[in-house]
Symmetry: D2
Subunit: 448 residues, 4 copies
């Protein structure tokens, strides 16, 4: 984190909207004082600093009125919705991500066992599930139904991409008497949640909308990590292992692995460090030349001459500049369809090494959906559970228009506008990329 980048936070109101005044006693038996060795309620005054270094703090203190900070998530002493009688709905949208079922399960358990709410509707196939014409069934999620779902990847609710009519969605929420809507999804889903909430406010309804950000690419702004991303890079290590084994299995063998990462290289970078067998890591944030003395192809050649094998890990969004002349295509969520940088590299390398008279054997691996359809690692499971617990606390307290975020080691309430204000990218001057450079030994830059 650094002062310059955090300055953008001044552009936002970081306070959280409440559906109404929280005046009902929480059914949870927590403490209100510190140091009695009993877990505590959290108050709205507890705020998490947006800085973590001495320098940044001092720059703020000398120049600005207040250091930006976020409302801390957690159970509130006074809540807005009536425990036992609150009806919730949960919907999962966009591409699959490890941990979706863990989040769903924990939402249901929290509702059922902690706040004694018996009804948590499961909306099928994303926002489609609210729209009558699709005719998707609506599930009632009880502990029995969700007991073992955390052992399985994906989402038992199914998902879909794209927007649906906001008025129709709110009509259905009213019809189902829903008090709290939990949406789990990425950028587009969060914008959709905002639109739903705006319609709710317009109608003066008392429905809270709480979002849990889902992005396997870990690219939501002002959130240190998102659920599923650890599992994704962990699972990617299997493909890297395979590429490494293949690369060593042939003279001048080359293994290329492509992983997710449309505009950010978190999966690629973390998988590189975790596996420790990658020699070249290419990500969208760090452009590279192919040709020329400092270009990637020459660096690869030098590596082969020295070590007789090489492993290349490339994020799908890297090097898209090489396709600039091609026509753009889009998916149902409105995301641009990327061109296949993995196959492109494979062809370029083959051609280059043939020209240089260097025998090689190139193996290309695209683990694709295997990475995102897996069940979460134990550490990711913890994160899913903690997000869901705090989402239900926030919802029952009557908070709305927020995502449950994680920043500076704490769970926070982040206004949804802030979360969608920009995409997070990997900082080439940060700790993770430094570790990548040190682990791979690749040059600081492939630019001539």
């Amino acid at each position: 984190m650094d002062y310059l980048r955090n300055k953008e936070l001044l552009n936002f109101d970081l306070n959280v909207r409440n559906v109404g005044k929280a005046s009902i006693e929480s059914p949870l038996k927590l403490s209100r004082v510190m140091n009695d060795d009993v877990a505590n309620f959290v108050t709205d005054d507890e705020r998490i600093l947006a800085v973590n270094t001495f320098d940044e703090m001092n720059k703020w203190l000398s120049k600005e009125k207040t250091i930006p900070s976020f409302e801390k998530a957690g159970p509130r002493n006074k809540i807005y919705f009536k425990p036992g009688d609150t009806i919730s709905a949960v919907v999962t949208c966009g591409g699959l991500c490890p941990g979706l079922n863990s989040v769903i399960r924990a939402l249901v358990y929290m509702n059922y066992y902690r706040y004694r709410n018996r009804i948590t509707y499961g909306i099928k196939y994303g926002y489609e599930g609210f729209i009558d014409k699709y005719d998707h069934a609506i599930m009632n999620l009880t502990p029995d139904v969700v007991e073992n779902i955390h052992k399985i990847g994906g989402t038992i609710l199914g998902s879909s991409r794209g927007e649906q009519d906001v008025c129709a969605i709110v009509d259905k929420l009213v019809k189902l008497r829903v008090n709290i809507l939990y949406t789990i999804g990425g950028d587009g889903t969060l914008r959709g949640s905002k639109a739903i909430s705006d319609e709710i406010k317009k109608r003066n309804l008392k429905i809270a909308v709480i979002s849990i950000p889902k992005t396997i690419d870990n690219d939501i702004a002002y959130i240190d990590k998102s659920f599923g991303s650890e599992t994704a890079f962990s699972k990617a290590c299997d493909a890297i292992d395979a590429a490494h084994v293949e690369a060593k299995g042939a003279f001048n063998g080359i293994g290329i692995v492509k992983v997710m990462g449309r505009s950010s290289g978190f999966i690629a970078a973390n998988a590189t460090i975790a596996s420790n067998d990658v020699n070249f890591c290419l990500i969208p944030e760090v452009p590279f030349d192919l040709d020329g003395e400092k270009g990637f192809l020459n660096a690869l050649k030098q590596r082969l001459l020295k070590s007789n094998h090489a492993v290349i890990l490339v994020a799908e969004g890297a090097g898209q500049n090489y396709f600039e002349n091609l026509e753009k295509r889009y998916d149902a969520s409105g995301n641009e369809k990327l061109h296949d940088i993995g196959l492109f590299l494979k062809d370029k390398i083959k051609e280059y090494l043939a020209k240089e008279n260097i025998p090689t054997s190139i193996k290309y691996i695209d683990p694709s959906y295997i990475i995102r359809s897996t069940e979460p690692t134990p550490n990711d499971s913890i994160f899913c559970l903690q997000l869901a617990q705090r989402a239900v606390h926030a919802g029952m307290a009557g908070k709305s228009d927020i995502v449950i975020g994680y920043y500076n080691g704490e769970f926070i309430h982040l206004p949804v506008e802030v979360a969608v204000s920009k995409r997070k990218v990997l900082d080439p001057e940060g700790e993770v990329w430094l570790s990548v450079l040190e682990a791979t030994g690749q040059p600081m830059s492939f630019k001539n």
Copy 2:
């Protein structure tokens, strides 16, 4: 097994060639009698029947002089090569397969600890390693070197495809004073081993050539299973899980997985039964129509209408008839390069369902090298170790021109000519395919 198919065995001499008379006492302290509760030496007279049913036996007994049988593998009381002084070389050829390192490790341990031979040469990058111009180093494999290699996929020796000059190979064997050559590879490698052995015989050398058949497709004739194939279909289950999760994650979701299997569907069939989540399994042995009422596309449509999702597993060699008009291409081993049936199916399904106005979401997964580069399962590890143990027993006893096979529950010495006489395919009337049909519920046939 059935009588008709086993009749082909009459075309072969199933007796095993010996390099010379085995007259040296084995250093192993085994028993020569049954029922003393001490493990036994095996004699050349012990033979494994090629039949396992009453009917087959009776047909042979009534019509033929003798039922075909195979020499049983195992430690011999009298051996040909001098324990402690025998020099071996081991080479791995062709594509990677789970368990290669386990076989190498067990060969070295057997040589070193049981027969006290200190030198087991590791030849690098397949038959290339024998040829001077490639300038590959020759390793000396001791227990220290191979101690942990079974935890890693691939082969520490590296591999390559294609033939090399047989005379040069034998020259190098002579130069290294090799007594026993262990070759690990597929069809092509076994033919190569035969050619090497022929050259050895021509020169009247006393060098034994023992092969361990490697085929991830499990398609070597007269061998019930080959090492690595269990691991391969086990690992394929990960990809099927992902496909299943993806298929259920969208309305009318379809997951397609392509697995290895050039001319035989063992991996596809076994992975289908093991995962129990596949709805359609397509293999080279069972041709299918796409169109028409009984065709695959209509069956898929009916499945979607009923269950709203489907998982398809296709062996790479299935449906190659759909590419008959395209030009043929070959790899360095002389294998024909297959066309991508997975992508072909994806396109055909997409087009068909669009025409039928059925919304869908198709996810295609090609786990490719991930499946073959993994370390072996424990059960496969056992098999690797047992093959290697018997290979060293055979080599030290002076056997030659054989592969170590597994038939009717026993390890056998199978003459290499028999092993390469044809390719094994999955029997559409056998137990495995029946289980596939019952597990998937797919029709007996997709032929109109």
Copy 3:
């Protein structure tokens, strides 16, 4: 397999009892002829030989009237019970074993999708579930209920040990209008099944009883392998890895692992070969001395002096002779409670090495229930599915009083009396133990 041991089979009638004449056409669309490339029905005449070597065959042919053989399992053309209307019940008894849920799931799927039977009752907590006083609910197992259970260890039905009143059980079967009872359990359960069947016959009822033998120890007679045992030894490898790591982590480190195996050492022996890191494997079938020059303790000492670490794998039933003077105790199934040979060895080794002035560090690992509560490996999953498929074929055909066995590479109908006639043990003169000796390098015997 050898002639002497198979001679015992002459003591038994290997023919299978039928509840009545099978006269209903099977709903399965299989072929009745070979070589039409369509999977076939199996006839009662197809029999699997009890021998697999030339020698054995000849000994039988020269001395006896007929070689013993078993009825082959599989789908019958004519069946006894009416497809669509047959009611089944399934019960799981005794200790947990990997694969129970896979067997249950496949029974349900076969009933539901292949024979169109809508009712498969799940009896809870073993035979207790038939007895009113326990008041356990009875489940109706449909595909929905069992869809994901194969991903979870244990049995969704629960289990219990011990006998229950046979008359009450049959009363309940009658009340539920059960046609086929599937029992899954070990020795005791199979005897119970026989008793139930005898009572059924006494009452002249048309209820078939089919058993699927469950023994993690793999010790059912005349059955080559039982489900779950591969998973068990595979999982045991984790504990051996830990023991090996711990042994190498300290000077003269010793890792001891205890695994299941009351009277047979299959898990221990297979885990030894699979892991390839065990130095001493002790099993019930091969007694050992502790003291004396050839005793185990001296061998261990020599190993430490040479290699500075050792891994010991001991089956729980090994060395029970060392506790002969202690009082015997029994569990609810009537099995004798074993004394802890692992802790005994740990203490003896510690004492001995202290006396010999050899510093050491001993780590004892008892993975216990971790091994049996896990989900099955893919290969074991296949086996579970195949057993269950054949069980339902047998049941629908009106077979009774049998277990579904696996012998000489084929699935068979084995009369339950034969299965419980004795316990199978590991043959010290067989292939597996030979591989253990060669993999560990331990002496042929620890007897002075």
Copy 4:
């Protein structure tokens, strides 16, 4: 984190000792400016705040001169030791922990490839390896030697417990011409490192001592997490799964799992949240009554009556007050040997439920060494690599008497005296314990 607890930090000098003036140019090609998109050197002025909330910050600002902060770890522009010529030694002490080999490997790679130092000595079996009388070999760790060790648990160096003569250790460092000593170990090892460093200073030698804290219990003060602890609780989930399966496998089944955690419950608490199947989690930090209405036994009984099964996870150090009257015993590291709370609970529960006439079946699982001997998870691997990278940067820069810590999301240089000043425990008022309470539903307290 809260103000009151962080106040203790004022008792310490948080500045870091340097062996001498760092005046050699670093061989690393990093940037010295921000915002040029090239990774940066870190300066000694960059300091990480010990607070992360607005409130804490304000309390410090209003009352104290400066908020405590830590020197940030990372590559320095000017270093003290000569790259290419620096000799290092690495030693691992105490019990095994996942990730030791990953740390060793990364230390060697950083030395070899980044700072071009060819000699990294591996000291065998902990501090013993420095002492002549033990006669342990000294390894030279090159990339070849350590290439695959991260796939294997434990430490290739071996380890030992207990202190050794500090003078003899420094003598050996001098004899080997070691410039930097890396010690990896727990509390005792860190104290030993301090003693070695004190002797070095006394002799006025220029040897740096850098420690990487190893504590599977995660109980080192002022360090948010230590390597291996994530892997430990992840692996513990296997045992919990088994306990859950066993508990559900019998009527009123109870599964008890004991995990590591001498004085802190991090493994138990995290495994509880990760697995999400634990009903009762008992840790050293939260004492419990067994008897009485609010006691643990009554709560367990109520659970059984409602749900018919229960899973209990207990940290080994929990409830040690129940053994207060027993004699105390100690291991070679001087740690008190704990009494077995798992077996104690099993007996107490059995006795209590028998008295209450509630049938049950209790299964006790102690995964013990299986948890600590495993290889690290990918996320833990990243952490190991990052610790080792920063350790080498610190060593080459001439820092000494520090541990590489992790605090508030950043890697820091923590003076070793601060790290050993007290043991970290789990805060019963913190986020983790709150999640445990919400996940299990267990009462806030078992105290009457």
